[in-house]
């Protein structure tokens, strides 16, 4: 049922049961929010969104108050604005004054609000917090002094990720957010996905930077500095430079990376194709030889850590394939090093990822060969943006360039890795070919596309129906794992991506993107798949060459040495 409510002396439509904020947003009317998370239950704790309810004469939180017929509200009356300003002043009263040094300078909701509300003097001086900066995690830096206790990270970690690593500790002015027993993040149940960074309004949570080492390596003439970038980067980097969401700037990015000083530029999508060759081979092997099913993807390091701590009994279900990042790292320091006559020791291998967990993955002990890491440094999409700005590169005036070869060509199937469901689609294409010797008639599996957290399909391969499931957001993975454990449905293959929507919405991506913008990134991937001619990983010419000249066959001895890994149960406080 809908009715009219009066907002700022003008009638707008409202629907029974929705909040004031819902009605206002639909009409394009803005009130500032801080603790609000779109699509999640409101907590109404920050009071930033208060509006004046004329009938009751009270200030009510728009995010948590339902509309009613005959409602009259003022969203920017003097009283409302003064109240919001006071909230910001109180939040600033114990906030560090180091905006100039802060990673979120110029991209901070607290800064924006204090500007919007014209806070120009410090009227209220509070006792500053003095809680230890937590730099223990290879992925995430936690600075509780900058935290304004909005609780968005706590809710994302619990509701979207199903991890609940962090919560409010203590009470009143002593409150802060942290893991159980105030442990450091590296010893906690944190899976490093970085979704907490994506919702943090301030600089309280940020990625661990590898810049100082990276820059010294770029300036070290004895090192060959190579870079790879994930399938998701080219469709999201543009937003770092105020271009519209979903613009694909692969060529420009190649040129920019070379200008920064990277000696060789590779595309991780190449090893996404390689992952598919190995993973589809593994699936065929497990199906034919009665191996452990359902097989579950292993490209997502956040999911891997989640499984290692919450579902250790299901580790045999995980594909033994390393992720594309690690496969690329391994191939660069073996095949490519040999071919290019560079000593593996002299290669500094950098990857650009939409992800903070990739930083953690790169330093896992299993991801080394003879004491040499496959990948030496990982930077996020955001950090690549910073790097490009730091080197004074004008993205708008660059001529596109291609990647280096080999390790540069890709299929459009590999590109799909960036979105939830993409790994599955790509794997089905190649598994079909490996099992039947023929190509699939219809490549597109519509049921596995889109932003839904949980998707399913059944693909007929030969005379067998292969049941597949795709989940994103680890809370959905948890639900599916419980279902699998109870034997409610039999699946052959499951794809898990930790972040909602997949890597295009990873924890290393541009902060502040809306759901529509994430969908735009997704659409670009599907467009690429529609337009391009090499749509299957097994037809990527450089992949064919790699197997002919170096690896032999998928799941062969050399592959096992370089491209496969194992997992371990983790004892952490859950």
């Amino acid at each position: 049922m809908s009715f009219l409510i009066n907002v700022n002396n003008k009638d707008i439509e409202a629907r029974e049961g929705e909040t004031i904020l819902d009605s206002l947003n639909r009409e394009g009317l803005n009130v500032p929010t801080l603790c609000h998370l779109k699509g999640k239950l409101p907590t109404g704790s920050c009071r930033m969104c208060v509006v004046e309810d004329i009938n009751s004469g009270r200030l009510v939180a728009a995010c948590a108050s339902p509309v009613y017929e005959g409602m009259k509200i003022q969203t920017h009356s003097h009283r409302v604005v003064e109240s919001r300003k006071m909230i910001v002043e109180l939040l600033l009263s114990n906030h560090p004054d180091d905006c100039l040094y802060c990673v979120r300078n110029k991209n901070c909701e607290l800064q924006d609000l204090s500007d919007e509300l014209q806070v120009r003097e410090r009227r209220i001086k509070g006792k500053k917090n003095n809680i230890n900066l937590d730099r223990s995690s290879p992925s995430i830096v936690r600075d509780p002094d900058k935290c304004i206790l909005c609780g968005r990270c706590v809710r994302v970690c619990e509701e979207v990720m199903g991890v609940s690593c962090i919560d409010f500790i203590n009470r009143g002015s002593d409150s802060f957010v942290g893991p159980a027993f105030n442990k450091s993040l590296n010893t906690s149940s944190c899976v490093k996905c970085g979704q907490c960074i994506m919702v943090c309004p301030t600089g309280a949570l940020s990625e661990k930077s590898h810049f100082p080492e990276l820059i010294s390596m770029l300036n070290n003439p004895e090192k060959t500095v190579v870079v790879q970038y994930a399938p998701a980067i080219s469709v999201s980097l543009a937003e770092e430079f105020d271009m519209p969401a979903g613009v694909d700037i692969t060529g420009i990015m190649n040129a920019a990376l070379r200008k920064i000083g990277f000696n060789y530029v590779f595309d991780t999508t190449f090893t996404a194709d390689l992952t598919i060759m190995e993973e589809a081979g593994e699936l065929a092997e497990r199906i034919n030889e009665g191996g452990k099913l359902p097989m579950i993807t292993s490209c997502c390091p956040g999911w891997i850590k989640f499984a290692e701590q919450f579902y250790p009994d299901m580790l045999p279900n995980l594909s033994t394939c390393k992720s594309p990042q690690q496969m690329m790292g391994a191939v660069i320091k073996s095949y490519w090093a040999e071919k290019s006559e560079v000593k593996p020791d002299d290669i500094y291998s950098v990857s650009v990822m939409p992800c903070t967990a990739k930083k953690f993955e790169a330093q896992r002990e299993e991801m080394t060969s003879k004491g040499i890491s496959d990948v030496d440094a990982v930077i996020t999409t955001r950090e690549l943006g910073q790097l490009i700005r730091m080197y004074g590169i004008d993205i708008n005036s660059m001529a596109p360039e291609t990647t280096d070869s080999p390790l540069g060509s890709r299929s459009s199937a590999g590109k799909l890795f960036a979105a939830s469901g993409g790994v599955m689609e790509a794997a089905m294409r190649t598994a079909y070919y490996m099992i039947t010797g023929e190509e699939l008639l219809r490549f597109k599996i519509e049921a596995l596309r889109g932003m839904d957290g949980s998707k399913e399909a059944s693909v007929k391969i030969g005379d067998m129906n292969v049941n597949v499931a795709v989940v994103n957001g680890l809370a959905n993975a948890r639900k599916l794992m419980e279902k699998v454990k109870k034997g409610e449905k039999e699946y052959h293959f499951i794809e898990v991506m930790a972040c909602p929507g997949g890597c295009i919405n990873g924890g290393g991506q541009h902060i502040g993107a809306s759901e529509d913008e994430i969908k735009a990134r997704m659409k670009t991937l599907y467009d690429i798949d529609d337009k391009e001619t090499v749509k299957v990983s097994h037809k990527n010419p450089e992949i064919v060459e790699l197997y002919e000249k170096f690896l032999g066959k998928p799941m062969g001895k050399k592959s096992h040495e370089l491209l496969h890994t194992d997992y371990f149960k983790r004892e952490v406080l859950l």
Binding site: D167, F168, R171, A180, S189, L574
Partner: protein
């Protein structure tokens, strides 16, 4: 120790999150504090993340997360004690044993707790060490009291 928690947990239905506080109280009563192991057991038993339990427990003053010292010092900060200088007494004790409320000294000898009122207002400001009351303490008398306990250890 694990068995100790298990016995306590069996008094409550599995998954009954509404019993969290009574469970934690029982464990603290038995163990003197809430250890990581005990919180992990409660987490599994109630199917509730350890971070939530820790968050809940730290909300209340009554829970501690370090084992009690051999001498458990309770400083009364109730109204009467407060008026007669409990703050100075507390500060002096913190300096003397080198820990803050809720903590235990490194040698395991003393632990400190601030309590609201121990019902001995006539003796204010008052502290209790392992249940023995010390009446009308002052900043100066603290050293003597604490040294007494230290000497007991040596002899």
């Amino acid at each position: 120790m694990e068995n100790n928690f298990k016995e306590i947990l069996t008094r409550y239905p599995e998954g009954s999150v509404e019993n969290l506080i009574p469970i934690l109280q029982d464990i603290q009563e038995a163990e003197g504090y809430l250890s990581e192991e005990s919180v992990a057991s409660v987490a599994r038993y109630l199917d509730m993340p350890a971070s939530k339990i820790y968050g809940e427990a730290t909300f209340y003053n009554q829970f501690r997360f370090t084992p009690l010292g051999k001498y458990h010092v309770q400083v009364c900060c109730g109204t009467a004690c407060h008026v007669l200088g409990a703050a100075t007494v507390l500060e002096e004790i913190q300096k003397n044993i080198g820990v803050e409320s809720g903590q235990t000294s490194k040698d395991g000898l003393f632990s400190l707790e601030v309590v609201a009122c121990i019902g001995a207002c006539g003796l204010a400001p008052v502290i209790s060490v392992n249940g023995n009351f010390h009446a009308k303490v002052t900043g100066e008398s603290i050293k003597e009291i604490m040294d007494n306990y230290r000497n007991q250890e040596k002899s």
